[in-house]
Symmetry: C2
Subunit: 639 residues, 2 copies
């Protein structure tokens, strides 16, 4: 058998040592026209829309056309419990794909989340990978991309405006006046229901379609949503780190007649609409999910939806382009689909189902799709399996766990790792004992991930100061814990070439995978049973519910939402709810402070502790360094 020729879009990197700054590496490479990357994937011009020269939206309709095609292998990348510095999960995802595509001659697509723009200007900087494993153009990846998050912001806030304005108009109008405004007579004096109103009529059990036939009681039930302001869970969003909007009072203008209310803004990626985008499977499915999003309750305790407010269709119109994933490229010219980026604690933190599905068809049999899950296996992979795969019907053949010597030392009892402060000596010189002690964390992530019936490959993301002895410990511990393989990789320093061994291990793991996917819990279990399954998975000995959590569980059960999967909102810094409990803690009691729901996205999310959903800016935000070279138009200072 002859080796297939490498794709003509593959680009070889000249790597420098020490590794230059990310932006310098990215700016030194001229990206290929994205139309060439698309053509190499077999896409014809009618399959995609260009957004400038280096981005294209791949149209969802491609799925219909490729229906008969077999899927490629599906690989998910998770990690161990991270330090605040991150352990290189995105970088490993990109590096592995560069290895598969540019060195192992495989058809490959990387599926990544779209980063939030807010943090780019705050503390965190960008999220396009790093070193010689990056998505380019890096500035376009980190900024507006193709406008999906802006569309989410617009849709989220249209719904918010609809809620408050509806309460306002209901307060000053009789049932009849309200109904007359909602279904006004046309020039011939005839009334009709808008299509979206028929959805509310069905929900109310009213089978009439002629507005004139409604009884006064039906008029009242139809026209008066009677939203309980205290029950509203829908907040406004903005893709900016604006801490002063976390808690605000609205409606203080003189025309709003004293109808003030306390509420707040979240960062845009925390919007339920982002979670909908990530979990939807088609335009029709998205229309239904957006329409059934619950914003709060009526005073009688009935859930009120976007469609009750008449706005589900308009939200879909705002989101109709956002449903198509964006095609970009890695430094070595392999294709990347960027799509959706839901919050990894209050939501499920995975890129979109539609991007993965399109990618699996595009690479076809024997090809590889590598997708990233948020945070450690407790949060990222668990939600990937029990929420994302449950909705998509897909199953991964291989799960990668990214580990670093640094994070393992922390789990083994090393000193605190704090962003912005120099690392302790323990982290930059050999300390085999700390690594050995820390492997309990890795072992638990391996065991948990394996419990889904999938082959686990550990990727040891090597830093310059890591030693052979330290890495040997990790390799042995991984195999002892049941990993299919454990491989050292140096893609940050060497690009795809540094992840060839990882690529080979992934290939073997995929080819030998046979078991079906085993979910952690069946959907039919009660909300509490499901929470308890997940808590046990974390290592907890039990669960403790606050009064508020009990009340909410009872309410969602009564409202018929108990058969949804569970999305735990928990810190990523420990298997437990306490960030300082490193390693693999056990015997703790997991406290459930509150329980909320994203009915449109399709999950219940218990809150374990307090999650900030709106970051702030430091005294000296990243934006101080960011500017345009007005002569060349190039962006400077992005990190």
């Amino acid at each position: 058998m002859t080796t297939p020729k490498p794709s003509p879009t593959i680009r070889r990197l000249d790597v420098a040592s020490p590794v230059p700054a990310d932006i310098d590496i990215a700016n030194a490479v001229s990206p290929l026209p994205i139309a060439d990357i698309a053509a190499e994937l077999g896409l014809r011009p009618e399959h995609f829309d260009l957004y400038g020269k280096y981005k294209a939206k791949v149209l969802l309709s491609v799925l219909d056309e490729l229906k008969g095609q077999q899927d490629g292998y599906y690989v998910v990348v998770g990690g161990i419990t991270p330090t605040p510095l991150g352990e290189g999960k995105s970088t490993t995802t990109v590096g592995l794909c560069q290895a598969l595509g540019a060195f192992l001659d495989k058809k490959v697509v990387t599926c990544l989340r779209q980063p939030s723009q807010g943090p780019t200007f705050g503390i965190k900087g960008g999220a396009a990978g790093g070193g010689y494993s990056q998505v380019i153009p890096m500035d376009e990846f980190n900024l507006h991309l193709t406008g999906d998050i802006h569309a989410i912001t617009a849709a989220n806030n249209l719904l918010a405006a609809a809620i408050d304005t509806r309460i306002f108009h209901e307060a000053s109008q009789s049932d009849k006046a309200l109904f007359n405004r909602l279904c006004p007579p046309n020039k011939e004096g005839k009334r009709r229901f808008a299509d979206v109103m028929l959805r509310r009529l069905i929900k109310l059990g009213i089978s009439k379609t002629d507005p004139n036939e409604l009884t006064p009681d039906e008029v009242r039930r139809f026209a008066r949503l009677d939203i309980d302001p205290e029950s509203i869970t829908w907040r406004r969003v903005m893709d900016v780190n604006d801490r002063f909007l976390r808690k605000i009072t609205i409606g203080q203008g003189p025309d709003e007649k004293g109808m003030v209310r306390e509420t707040g803004f979240d960062i845009a990626v925390a919007s339920e609409i982002m979670a909908v985008l990530a979990l939807t499977t088609s335009l029709a499915d998205m229309r239904e999910r957006l329409g059934r999003m619950v914003i709060g309750n009526s005073k009688a305790g009935e859930p009120i939806t976007a469609d009750d407010l008449g706005v589900g269709g308009a939200l879909t119109v705002l989101m109709k382009d956002a449903i198509h994933p964006t095609l970009m490229q890695t430094l070595e010219g392999t294709p990347v689909l960027v799509h959706a980026g839901p919050f990894a604690n209050i939501a499920h933190g995975n890129s979109s189902i539609v991007a993965d599905k399109i990618a699996l068809k595009l690479v076809g049999k024997g090809g590889y799709v590598v997708t990233e899950a948020g945070f450690g296996s407790d949060i990222g992979t668990e939600k990937f399996m029990d929420i994302k795969c449950r909705y998509s019907g897909l199953m991964p053949q291989c799960a990668i766990i990214v580990a670093t010597i640094r994070a393992l030392k922390m789990h083994g009892g090393g000193p605190d790792v704090v962003a912005g402060k120099p690392l302790d000596h323990a982290y930059v010189s050999e300390n085999v004992a700390l690594v050995e002690a820390g492997c309990v964390n890795l072992a638990k992530h391996i065991a948990n991930t394996k419990s889904y019936g999938v082959n686990v490959v550990v990727a040891i993301n090597k830093f310059a100061s890591d030693t052979e002895a330290e890495m040997d410990v990790v390799r042995n511990a991984s195999l002892a814990a049941g990993a299919f393989d454990a491989v050292v990789c140096t893609h940050h320093a060497h690009g795809g070439k540094g992840a060839v061994d990882l690529g080979l291990a992934v290939q073997r793991a995929c080819e030998s995978q046979a078991d079906p996917l085993k979910f952690l819990y069946p959907l039919e279990s009660g909300i509490k049973e499901k929470i308890e399954s997940i808590a046990k998975f974390y290592g907890a000995s039990g669960v403790e519910y606050s009064e508020q959590a009990e009340k909410q569980i009872e309410m969602y059960t009564k409202q018929g939402f108990s058969n949804l999967p569970i999305c735990m909102a928990k810190t990523q810094y420990s298997f437990s709810h306490v960030p300082s409990m490193k390693g693999a803690p056990s015997g703790f009691v997991l406290p459930i402070r509150d329980v909320r729901a994203s009915i449109g996205a399709g999950f219940i999310y218990p809150l374990v502790g307090t999650m900030s959903t709106m970051p702030g800016l430091p005294t000296r935000p990243c934006f101080y360094e960011i500017d345009v070279d007005t002569a060349t138009g190039k962006v400077m200072g992005l990190s």
Copy 2:
């Protein structure tokens, strides 16, 4: 001489009678690939970026390449004082261009404002023209377009977050701690100023460039902006009709330590950044304007800018794609540049200078660029001439005033015209006397526009019920008032064919234009003198300043901003400040309630009465009808 062949992108319309709904007309026509329209304009692929198949951003760099090219004729479209229903200014602009391009074989480009997305879902609906004179695809025009307004929202709100967070961090830190955070030592212990900090140092008269050399007093002056929260004029924005955000209290979260403040949101197009986009002439110019936007004062009364906050470069990065105008097409296949859409009362309400400049080069000598100004000549054309042309250095050869029999009857004493209510009988049957009486309004618009030294053509936008006798009155009154010509047009019903006579009149007007542009006032006059020139132009006998206005004028003069042009924030429904004073009122005293400034955009804006900068939603917003056909992906119900 032979007639030139019509362009291959021209499309002939089959018009139906009565005129179908706008969306049905728009959906019945298949737009051409925008790349074909671009090619017909002489643009090569490197001159534009596609955004899907029917939109493209024309890159500003085209201007450098066409530097040697002669400009085409420049035509501005204004109107008489309108009714609340609008008199068809956009529709006439589009119809005229369809006539010039599709029937008179001229090279032509239409320059339109990008509409705000918020009102599309509220009361107003879309803004792509109407009937057989529309820009298509109409849904893309009215919704996200190419993301410029989203970029403005992001930039505006990043600056807002930077303001409040800076005040927060200054409150808790000593001068030295603040300075250490702003200029932290690197690994080698060295400090450096970010480039944007050098701008602040220059402003402060500190010529040092090494942070270590600053004296404690210089450290304090540099690091402590000492913003007076009461003086902050920068508000947050959102492109949604959300009345409950008009007045809000922010900072109520526990982590914000009681630093609450009253502020509010405007609709995104009211952002000063939109006005900057509309008035800028290059990327370098935009960088400077964004950096010098004033957000409020220090407690000592010094203006604080975006660059003082370190964020001018980041704002430019967010706006770097927005600076390129978007190419679309009319129903008859003529090219349209859509770009910027600043509020027409608190800002200058005109589309962008860069779009007009690119268009003038693209059509070249003998071609036509038709651009629209906001509202009547008192607001739209006045600001077009005294602000936009002053900054662009361009001069129109012809100004069109759109008039309707309906609006003239209102000015002649007809009953109130109210949106959403049936029109009075007077408006739908012949009433020559009312029209005659109303022509005073038209005559004053003609005289005012002529005073700039430009030829005026009146376009009578004919409605089905208008009679020959009524239109004769308008024609005669127009010529008597000094119009170059006055022409009846029926482009709403017939497309370009209905505006051929208007096109011919415009051609004659342009060819005979000789005078230079005469501004209404010189920039060097004081703020009050300039306000008084404009008031006189309106017909006022004098101006009355509130105490607050006096104080602000004094402050801006002291701060060195008195040489900026004036942008009056006044109702569009009367030459005066009282919407009910129709016709051509005189002898009134114009009250100036307050005076504000958009220093980055480059104008002072006196407030004549109260302007709402955030619309609301009615009980039954447009969104009730808006949905996607999930089978075809087509948008339904947009109006």
